[in-house]
């Protein structure tokens, strides 16, 4: 539910006025959240937990309150389960093979598993290569999160727990961005347009504009669309680079000595030092390549394409084709014309 701006502070409570209802929600209205590590981790954990517990339960019951957000959040389930299954597909059966076959199969299997991990890591981390420079260069934080308060239909007559929190991003929809959340709270002494002012300044549209929000909104939209494209394309290319990196031979040494038993200090330390060594050697191997021809340069090409996608992505996002312009209301409705509504 999108609350009107002018009464965003009014708490609309559909809950029964039950004093014994001790459940207190973290937010009682849609709230802009800081885009920092702690908040993002908290949001991530919250969504992850819900994706594996509350949302599937609601979905399987066919709850009337199940919604698109929950469906999308549940997308994490196949992503993670699929990763684990993919690892299993390449490793689980190996233990039944005889020694030689097992060794050979495990070599590929372990690299494949490492590839799955690096795919995920590279895919998520590489998005920062777009969002951070875009924020630094334009002032637009395309990842700004906010908490959304949802009022659900009661499941039964005594159901008083009808609110839930969803975590969205201000710009997750380019058609309906949550502009309202970006306005300052004048009662707290904030300037109404202070966020828009900052962006306008960053974008070189000038300072102390009368209506910076109207000026920058079209620009923000464009930035959001372009950065979205850059994020999508580049993250998959980086993910591919991650897999290719995982397939370098030097990793074998680490994979054969890998241990996560940190309480066994000696083994763990050794494993970590081998990890470091394997990482460096694999990186060199990946870049320098082996063999001749395309095979020799495949690593450079893939890495180059990934890097290029990020650089071009940021450049395209930052370079705005449109000149800032204010929509002239007089052009929208021609006063001389007849308008008929039926």
């Amino acid at each position: 539910m999108i609350l009107p701006i002018n009464n965003h502070k009014n708490v609309i409570g559909f809950r029964a006025n039950n004093n014994e209802d001790k459940k207190s929600l973290r937010y009682n209205h849609d709230t802009l959240l800081p885009n920092n590590f702690i908040t993002n981790t908290r949001i991530g954990l919250d969504k992850l937990t819900n994706a594996f517990t509350v949302y599937p339960a609601k979905g399987l019951k066919g709850s009337k309150n199940a919604n698109f957000y929950e469906f999308l959040t549940m997308g994490t389930v196949p992503y993670l389960v699929g990763s684990a299954t993919l690892m299993a597909v390449f490793n689980f059966a190996n233990k039944f093979y005889d020694h030689f076959d097992r060794t050979q199969a495990s070599k590929i299997g372990k690299k494949m598993a490492l590839g799955v991990v690096f795919y995920g890591l590279a895919k998520s981390l590489s998005k920062s290569l777009i969002t951070k420079p875009v924020k630094a260069l334009t002032g637009v934080d395309t990842e700004q999160p906010y908490a959304k308060v949802i009022y659900e239909l009661p499941d039964h007559i005594n159901d008083t727990d009808i609110t839930s929190i969803e975590y969205h991003k201000v710009f997750e929809s380019v058609e309906f961005p949550r502009w309202d959340l970006l306005y300052g709270d004048e009662s707290k002494g904030q300037k109404r347009n202070f966020r828009y002012d900052k962006i306008a300044k960053k974008l070189g549209m000038g300072e102390n504009l009368n209506d910076s929000d109207q000026e920058v909104k079209p620009r923000i939209k464009e930035i959001v669309v372009k950065s979205n494209l850059a994020k999508t394309i580049s993250s998959y290319l980086w993910a591919a680079s991650g897999v290719a990196f995982a397939f370098q031979t030097p990793w074998e040494k680490y994979l054969n000595n890998m241990t996560f038993k940190f309480w066994k200090e000696k083994e763990f330390k050794e494993s970590m030092s081998i990890l470091k060594e394997s990482f460096v050697k694999s990186a060199k191997n990946f870049y320098n390549g082996e063999g001749s021809g395309v095979s020799k340069h495949a690593g450079k090409i893939l890495l180059g394409a990934s890097l290029l996608s990020s650089v071009v992505g940021v450049a395209n996002t930052v370079a705005s084709g449109k000149k800032p312009q204010k929509t002239d209301a007089s052009k929208v409705i021609n006063k001389d014309d007849n308008y008929v509504v039926s």
């Binding site: 059966a93 929809s173 494209l229 929208v332």
Partner: protein, 855 residues
Amino acid sequence: MNSNLIQNFITYQSTSANRLNQQKKQEAPKKPKPDFDIQKELNNRTFIKPLDGKGQLIKGSIFNSPAALVKNGIYNAKALKHAIQGNANDHELGKLNDLGLMLGGLGIAGYLFTKRQTPMTKGMEFVGLASFLASMAIWPKIAIQLPAYLIHGVNVHKQYEDSFGRKKPFYQDPQFLPWDLYSDEEIQKIGDRLGVDKNIPNRREFIQEKMKKIATQNNTLWMLTAGFAAPIMSGIICNLSEPYLNKFLDNRQNKEADKILSNIDSYAKKYQTNFITNNLNEVITKHKDQPVTKELEESISEIFTKYMDPLTARNFRADLREKIYGQNTYNVKVENIKEIHENLLKMFKKVRAFDEEFIQAIIPNENQIIELLNSNEQLNKDIDASKFRDITIAIKKLVEKNAVEYNKNNPDKQQDIELVRKLIVKNKADKNSSSIKVILSKAKSNIFDSKAITKLQKLAKIFDDFNAKNQALDEYALKKVGAAPETVIANYWNDVAKTLLKSLGFTSSELEKVHSDTTLISPLLRKKVDNIVANKESFNKLMTTMAKKIAEINDKLKTSDISTPLMTGDYNNTAYDDIVDGLFDSVAKELRNGDLGFERTAKGLVGVDGNDVIGTLKNLQKIYVKDRLLGVKSSFYRIINTLDMFRRISTDVNNQPALQGKYTEVKEELIELCKTITLEGHSSDYATKFYMLRNAHPNTTKAPVEVKNGKVVYHYLNKNIERTDIPGDKYFYQDAMRLMYEGDMHPDTMAILNETNIKQEVLNYRNTVLEKLGGEDYFAKPRHLIRAKNQTGSDVKFLLTGISPLELLHKTGKQVYNTNKWLKIFGGAGAALLGLTVFVQFFLGKMKSPQQKGK
């Protein structure tokens, strides 16, 4: 991109057609309805209403039609364009994810493609990607959409096109469902299928709720199962498609190889890099008309010998030295004298016994040395290395004379003259030595002149052409018979091995038990073969299958192209031999002829006159192919011979010539030995003339061997008595060889072989084994020969024995077991997942109808 209803409205109004329509309406207003109350209408604000939607449900089957795929592709391309321009909408941005996923997938597959060595593994990278993407798309269709439709009559992945032509899943957001797109009739029909009571109030709403519930539940089920399903399905698809891809690539590779042989000259252009010519020209530009230094010689040798084997390279270097650079000459110059002087000082200063004064007194200065060499006519003149000694001696004499003089003048400071002599003639030729010879040898005066250059350029052309053709021939040999995965012969090998395993009737559960060890497979294999050969029908079936499969080799590798004379009996040149002969002989001729005279290299390539039997590069090129073929054919003809021998024993044991006149106990020993050796023997078993624990004092009964239901019944062999090897019994060895390889084959076998093109080869194989292995001498068991002593090399004996059927089945059995095990685990998991997903659907969509609620 549309923002809101008002904007839509304005846009709508601006379209001319509607404008006209409106104008018409304005011009001729309809007569108001009699009960029209403007105030009421205004109060109800019904005059502001959304435009009629233009959305529609998408009809069609569960799987997308090609036309729809093209349409989607175009939409995605437009979405990308809009996103680049920065004006894409949410729906378009959503589509970019698919594009990114595909791009990333291609990146991975493309990279791994370059890392894989064989066409099959390369191809599987893309099969893997395609199967993964397909699995992600197919799973929701077959496990969710189809069962839900069949069970409930509801298409839970129904799509609709909104007013702006954007395709969306109908049930994407359960909170916003465009129910108006469904007509009342359609909903009621679905309701009937869902078994909704016809007489309930608000039936349509109830049906809608039920449909929504089923869709929500199914979408959740999809999310919960897809993670397991996609990788497993993808793995299974890859596993199942592998043999087909293999067959396709095998055919393609074989055809490609055939093309190489028939167009060797044009194909060789692929390898015509002119590596030697290009690199040589660089060296020429740098060193033309300069002295021939050791470094120059080294760099030229390196260029030429890069693709040579060490032996040819050694020959070539020797020829190069002799024929191109000729004898070395040296020209000692004043700079060299300076160096000699400095080094002498350095050398003497290292000796503690000599003080500075003594050294200065005895070492001649530069001018003295120059004068000395001048007087001997050794300065600024071309000399050969034999003159080095004269120069050293002359200098030595001068120093010696100075030293003697010094000792004479300084009686209190006598120095060791002998040590002085030794130091001067010190003759170590290493770089760090400061001997006079080392410095002199640097003063080379041969010139890298145009004569040498012309010869080198000619050589470069010869070897560039030779290397290109040779590489083309290597590629042909590798593709056909290379000792590598996925060559024509390797694919054929796997095919035969798998056919044998299948035809012998090894089941999955048997493989599970015995795959780990040959000692476990051995009794099982023996039992299976004994059972099969006991029955004419089963024997014929097995022999026909195997003979036909084995005979495929002569279609894949035509005997006119490459062959193994030991099997075919035809020692004429094949097409491959002709090309190899042509290439090597012509190169050798060019190397020998004219002013080149590279005799050593030519001899290494083709021998003295081109017909040398062994030890030439040409023969190596030919023999590699023949040997590979011999090993493979022997292994498989051995299978035919083994089955045949088992059949002969099963049906006609007492008429076998090798067993005539023997004691029954010895016959039983022979039968047992031959069965074991044919199934399990290695070349070492033949070389040691078969080791067998036997009864040293056999029972002297000469009764026929008992055969019951086609199986030999042992009467003596099972007795628990002490047994030993009898190394002196050469006849036992000879009889065993005869039983295995001599005499007629079984008529059943012959009838089957008559239908194939390998009959003669199998017969030749038996004779060759008898001759080459039977004629092998062995010091520990003398005179164990079936023919006169044979001088065949151990390589041929090894190749003739081939792999034992037991070992072949062990290796193949392991592979098949591994694949089956994987399929069993993940195929089982996949099937269980599918079953569970479908099963769960029977419990979805349960709702109480309004009447039930009221009750």
